[in-house]
Symmetry: C2
Subunit: 329 residues, 2 copies
DNA sequence: TTGAAAGCGCTACCAG
DNA sequence: CTGGTAGCGCTTTCAA
C-alpha cells in the first residue's frame, strides 16, 4: 500500500505539499506540482479515503435504504440514484429493510458509523422525526412529504388519469382497488381515481387490499370476480396487482380488453412483457432516482434550502389491456 | 458526536480500558466493565468505524459488483448476499458496471480506497488476473471458474434437464437457442442441451443469439418462427428470451403448450407471473447469493482454502408452457 | 511557496 | 488489571 508519505519521499517534498496538489488547495509551485504528479503516477498512488474521512468527519459514501431490492419497482430507482451519484464520485452503501424498523435503525446506525454524508430512504416505517434527528441530510424517495425533502410521482394525478382513461375507453362498471392504507402513495392514487369516478356517471366498486404481494393479490382477484363478475374495468393499485387480475381474468377466459379493461400503476419492466402487455400509469422510476440524488447533493451543499420536494409527472402508457380510445383525453 | 474519550471520562477510566471492553480483549475488572458499559449506554455511544478501519487497515465493508441491478436476475442474488453478510455485521458497497471494464476498474479502486475487506463480483469483463492482483479475497458469483473462488449453478445439467423434459413431453422438432458466446454459463446450458439432443431421435435446430435483451430476443423470435415455423418446442437461453418467444407464439395464435412447448432458464420472479406461467430451469439465485457470501467469509478467515468453488443444483419447474409429462424423467 | 506538527477516533503495545 | 502513548493516512493550521 502506497501512502502520501511514499509520494512525498519520491517527489522530495513534504506530505503537506502532496496533500496540496491532491486537493488543489493553497499555493504550490508549478514545478513541484509536476514532480508530485509524476511521483503519484509512478507509484500508482491513490489516497486512502478512510483516513480522509476520519479527519474531515465525512466520507464520499451515501446510504441507500429500500424495502426490498427484489421488488421490481426498486431496482430502477436504485439505478437512477447510483448513476447520478456516481457522476459526482459518491458511492452507495445499501440495505434492504423489509419494512422492519429494527433493521432500518440498525442500518442507519452503521451508516453513521461509517461517516456517510447523506441518505436516501425509500422506506415507510420510521417516523420522520427519527430521521430529522440525524445530523446528515436525508431525502425520501417514493414517499410524499411537504416538510421533509422528498421526491415522488404525482400519484393523485395518476389515479385521475387511470379513471379517465377507463371511462373514456368505455368501461361502465369499474372496480377500483385500494392499496395498503399505510402507504401514502397508494392512497394518493386511490383518491385521484375516486375523485374522477365519483364525478362520473359510471358504477364503481371499491375493493380494499392490504398488501402488494402477488400471492395475496391472486386471492383478491378471485374474490373480485366472484363478487363482481360483470365488472368491465379494473384500476389496480399497482402492476403486480394488475398482473394478478389479468391472470385470473385470463383463467376465466375473459377477452381482454373486450370484456375487461385493466390499468396498472408503476410500469415496472415486467408489465410490457406480459401477454397481453399491460396498460398502466408510468412512474418515471429511473428519473425519480436521479432527482433524489440531485436533491440530496444540493442539500449537502446547502442544508437551508426551501425547494425541498420534487414531484414528477406520471403518464398513461397505452398497451393492450385497454381498448383503443375514441379520441384522446 | 460522542467519542471513546467521552465514554472514558464519564466512566472515570482511560480510553484503553474502554477499548478493551468494547472489543472484549484483554483483562478488565468486572466492576469497571460495568461502569464502562453504563457510560456507553448513557451516552448512547457507538464506535466510529472509520477510525477503526484506519487503524486496522480493514473495514466491515464488502464490495459488490454486478452488471445491472435492473436486470431481473440480479436482485435475488444481491439479496442473498446481503442477508447473509448482514448476519455477520458486514455492509455492502455496490456498483453497477454495465459490463464496462472502465466502470469496473473504477469501482474496484474506490472499494479499495475504502478498505473493503472482500468483494463479490458478478461481472464478466475484467480478466481473472486483474482480480488476482488484488490483496483482498474475491468471489465470483454466477460465473464458473475452477481456479478462482466462485459460486454458480450447474448450467450444463440444467441444459440436459431442459432437453430431456422437452423430449419426454413429446416435442419432436426442437429449437435450441444458444445465448451469447462470451457468457460461460450460457454456453454450459447450451452444451448440456446439445448433448442430450444429439443423442436423441428428435430433429433440432440451433439458433445463435448474441444478447439477453428482450428487444433483441423479440426479433429473433419472429425470425425463428419464420424460418422454422413448425418447431414444436423451444429451449430458450434464459427466461427473458423465453418470454419473447412466448409473446411471438401467442401473437401467432399458437396454442401453448399444445402446439409449442417452451422452457426458459433462471426462473426469475417474472416467469411465474406470465400467462401462461413459464416452465423453466430454476437457478437457486438467492441461495447462490448466500453461498457466495459464506464462501467469501471463509476466504477472509483463511485465504489458503482448497474448496474454492461451489456448484449448486438446478431444477425443472413445471408450469404451463410444457405439457403434462407421461411418467417423469 | 513550503514544511512541521497537531490531531481526526480508535487499537494495541508496553509499563506499571 | 489499568493507563499512557504511538501511530493508522490524511488535512490543515501556523511559521518560516
Amino acid at each position: 500500500m502506497t501512502t502520501i508519505r511514499d509520494v512525498a519521499k519520491a517527489a522530495g517534498v513534504s506530505v503537506a505539499t502532496v496533500s496540496r496538489v491532491l486537493n488543489e488547495t493553497g499555493y504550490v509551485h508549478e514545478d513541484t506540482k509536476k514532480s508530485v504528479t509524476a511521483a503519484i503516477e509512478k507509484l500508482n498512488y491513490s489516497p486512502n479515503e478512510v483516513a480522509r474521512s476520519l479527519y474531515k468527519r465525512k466520507s464520499k459514501l451515501i446510504g441507500l435504504l429500500l424495502p426490498d431490492i427484489t421488488n421490481p419497482f426498486f431496482p430502477l430507482l436504485a439505478r437512477g440514484v447510483e448513476d447520478e451519484l456516481r457522476l459526482h464520485d459518491f458511492r452507495l452503501i445499501f440495505g434492504n429493510t423489509d419494512e422492519n424498523p429494527e433493521k432500518e435503525k440498525d442500518y442507519i446506525q452503521t451508516f453513521q458509523q461509517n461517516n456517510v454524508i447523506g441518505m436516501i430512504s425509500m422506506t415507510n416505517q420510521l417516523s420522520k422525526t427519527t430521521y430529522q434527528d440525524l445530523s446528515i441530510p436525508v431525502v425520501f424517495l417514493d414517499r410524499t412529504s411537504s416538510s421533509l425533502p422528498s421526491v415522488y410521482a404525482d400519484g393523485k394525478e395518476g389515479g385521475r388519469i387511470a379513471a379517465m382513461e377507463m371511462i373514456q375507453r368505455g368501461s361502465k362498471r369499474i372496480t377500483l382497488i385500494k392499496g395498503p392504507s399505510h402507504i401514502q402513495t397508494a392512497q394518493d392514487r386511490f383518491q385521484g381515481s375516486l375523485e374522477v369516478l365519483s364525478a362520473s356517471e359510471v358504477d364503481f366498486y371499491v375493493m380494499s387490499t392490504s398488501s402488494f404481494s402477488f400471492e395475496e393479490a391472486e386471492k383478491w382477484a378471485k374474490e373480485l370476480f366472484k363478487k363482481y363478475g360483470d365488472t368491465d374495468g379494473v384500476i389496480a393499485s399497482n402492476d403486480i396487482v394488475a398482473t394478478a387480475v389479468l391472470h385470473e381474468a385470463l383463467r376465466l377466459e375473459k377477452s381482454i380488453p373486450h370484456d375487461l379493461q385493466i390499468i396498472g400503476f408503476d410500469d415496472i419492466p415486467h408489465s410490457s412483457l406480459l401477454f397481453p402487455p399491460l396498460s398502466t400509469i408510468r412512474q418515471p422510476a429511473y428519473e425519480m432516482g436521479t432527482e433524489a440524488a440531485k436533491l440530496l447533493m444540493k442539500l449537502m451543499k446547502n442544508n437551508q434550502m426551501k425547494e425541498k420536494s420534487v414531484q414528477l409527472p406520471v403518464m398513461f402508457i397505452e398497451r393492450s389491456t385497454t381498448r383503443k380510445g375514441e379520441g384522446h383525453v
